[in-house]
């Protein structure tokens, strides 16, 4: 659905996006992570035909940027970094304007559908300027969906929202995901990316890494299992450290942190050996590094 090859954007001498190559499939929710000024918004603007690339190519929904800009703009939906609503106009009017500009066949029907879906129907006649941040964001999302785009670009969809509003927006994105739409999300919210995205890319002017969040964890840290013992763990190190399937083992207080490739196969054997050696195992769990750890490591390397 979205394919870029060496997509590059320069503003004068300033390189904003450097040779970005991506391939995003249909129905995929793709997280585009990066710090402020990394070039995320510039990338979205290129992919929505708002600005032209300096070099490279991109095909969005079968249309090539720079050549089929009108078709791209007609077939994608975009939630910009700020909602950019007409504050003096009602929610209904805001959406009606955009539905007409997006050449929607049944304007009132589509506007009603999304106002109801996002819980704004009762406030449809109120000026958008009177809405809370969360409601404004929902209205902006509705605006991006009026023409039923198969590809949706969401630039910081939950930025600045309180937890309740952010959850509402996230739940709605989940619904869109279930509908099979391709969603490209720029976000700082790593927890959100972890929960919503099939794959994530860490980006800072150039692409650092692309993978599933699980794949990234394994790439960076391998799989790690923690054995919580009732006693100090260091005395059990000799029991486990010579096992051929272990990649790394470490004792921290009363915990044994063990890196291994296939815990489902080898955990029973490890547990047996530890118990036979007299260890009192309280519980066993997989150590899950947060996406934040991975992100910070990658961004700081850059």
């Amino acid at each position: 659905m979205i394919k870029t090859e060496n997509l590059t954007k320069k503003f004068g001498d300033n390189l904003a996006v450097d040779r970005l190559t991506l391939d995003i499939g249909e129905g995929e929710v793709f997280g585009f992570l990066g710090p402020n000024g990394a070039g995320k918004t510039t990338t979205v603007r290129m992919l929505t035909s708002l600005i032209a690339p300096t070099a490279g190519t991109a095909v969005v929904n079968g249309f090539q940027i720079g050549y089929d800009d009108y078709d791209i703009r007609r077939s994608v939906g975009i939630l910009t970094e700020t909602p950019g609503l007409y504050d003096r106009l009602s929610a209904w009017r805001n959406l009606t304007i955009f539905a007409t500009l997006y050449e929607v066949a049944d304007v009132p029907g589509q506007v009603e559908k999304y106002l109801r879906m996002l819980g704004l129907w009762e406030r449809r006649n109120d000026e958008a300027g009177t809405f809370s941040k969360g409601m404004r964001q929902k209205l902006a999302i509705a605006r991006a969906l009026l023409h039923e785009p198969r590809i949706l670009f969401l630039d910081e969809p939950t930025s600045g929202l309180d937890p309740e509003a952010a959850k509402l927006v996230r739940d709605f994105i989940e619904e869109l995901k279930e509908e099979g739409r391709t969603i490209f999300i720029c976000t700082h919210n790593l927890d959100e990316a972890d929960r919503l995205c099939d794959r994530v890319a860490v980006f800072k002017t150039r692409l650092r890494v692309v993978d599933t969040t699980k794949g990234l964890r394994e790439q960076m840290y391998g799989r790690q299992v923690v054995f919580h013992l009732a006693e100090t763990a260091v005395s059990y190190l000799p029991i486990v450290q010579n096992q051929p399937y272990l990649r790394h083992v470490e004792a921290v207080d009363n915990k044994l942190v063990i890196a291994l490739d296939d815990p489902e196969t080898y955990n029973p054997d490890l547990i047996r050996q530890l118990v036979e050696a007299g260890a009192n195992i309280q519980f066993v769990g997989e150590l899950r590094h947060s996406l934040e750890d991975i992100y910070l490591q990658l961004v700081n390397q850059a």
Binding site: F11, T42, R45, T48, L50, I51, A52, Y70, D71, R73, R74, I78, T80, T82, P83, G84, L85, Y86, D87, R88, L89, R93, I97, F98, T100, L101, Y102, E103, A140, R143
Partner: protein, 262 residues
């Protein structure tokens, strides 16, 4: 066409909820309609004294006053000046609306979602220009009609016929809309190049300057506006309109507007 209509309706819905713009649209026409009528009323009350004024000043008015009394000549002179002012009106009114049209959207951050829709630059700019022109022309024509009806009651037929010569009707009903489009194109062009609505408004207001010079020229007797001058102005402005509308579209750089403005 539907998209242009949508932009026009959107602009009107937004703009006419803005008190500053409403004030601009309403205040100037009110003043320009009331002022000449008040002046005429005052002039008529002093007409007795005017008859005794030296006829030397008749030379100043030249052919405009041939066959008229000095009082009638003064009325014709004043009405001509005020009619000329009605040509400034449709230039002054839409400048605020048009100046805010691009830069105002950008500062409100509503321009990016708008540019992300499948709307062409021509559709967008034509919509914005027409939205600024129509109220200005409509209000000008309405104000002029009120002024004309008021004048008809207050002056004699000879003076009225002189003041409402076809030349002035041509100026108000044909040249004024052309001047409006000129002002609006300049305002939209400036608005898409600057980053502050106030700067856009001030720069666009400079379009009024040549018209003010025309009014001053007529007032002090430097120029006596006649049919040829009005037609000449009409032709020049029509050509300028074509060039400026074309330039507005060409100079509207979506990328520069989105990326260089913060």
């Amino acid at each position: 066409m539907k998209k242009i209509q949508t932009i026009i309706r959107k602009e009107w819905a937004e703009v006419f909820k803005n008190r500053l713009v409403l004030f601009t649209v309403a205040f100037l026409p009110l003043i320009l309609t009331a002022l000449p009528l008040i002046t005429l009323a005052l002039t008529n009350s002093f007409s007795g004294e005017m008859e005794s004024v030296s006829t030397g000043s008749m030379d100043f008015f030249g052919e405009m006053c041939q066959g008229l009394s000095e009082a009638d000549c003064t009325n014709v002179y004043m009405l001509n000046i005020y009619t000329l002012m009605f040509m400034i009106l449709p230039v002054a009114i839409p400048v605020t609306i048009a100046a805010y049209s691009i830069v105002g959207e950008k500062t409100a951050r509503s321009l990016e979602p708008l540019l992300a829709t499948p709307i062409t630059t021509v559709e967008l700019l034509v919509g914005k220009m027409v939205a600024a022109c129509i109220p200005a022309v409509a209000v000008t024509w309405l104000a002029f009609l009120i002024y004309a009806v008021g004048a008809w009651f207050m002056v004699n037929d000879v003076v009225f016929a002189q003041a409402m010569k076809p030349m002035w009707l041509l100026a108000i009903f044909l040249v004024s809309p052309l001047l409006t489009l000129l002002a609006v194109s300049v305002a939209v062009m400036v608005s898409s190049r600057v980053t502050d609505p106030r700067v856009a408004e001030q720069l666009s207001a400079l379009v009024i300057m040549p018209l003010i010079l025309l009014v001053v020229g007529q007032s002090v007797g430097l120029i006596l506006i006649n049919e040829q001058i009005i037609v000449l102005i009409g032709v020049i402005v029509a050509v300028a309109d074509g060039v400026l509308v074309y330039l507005s579209v060409k100079l509207f750089q979506r990328e520069a507007i989105l990326t260089r403005w913060k």
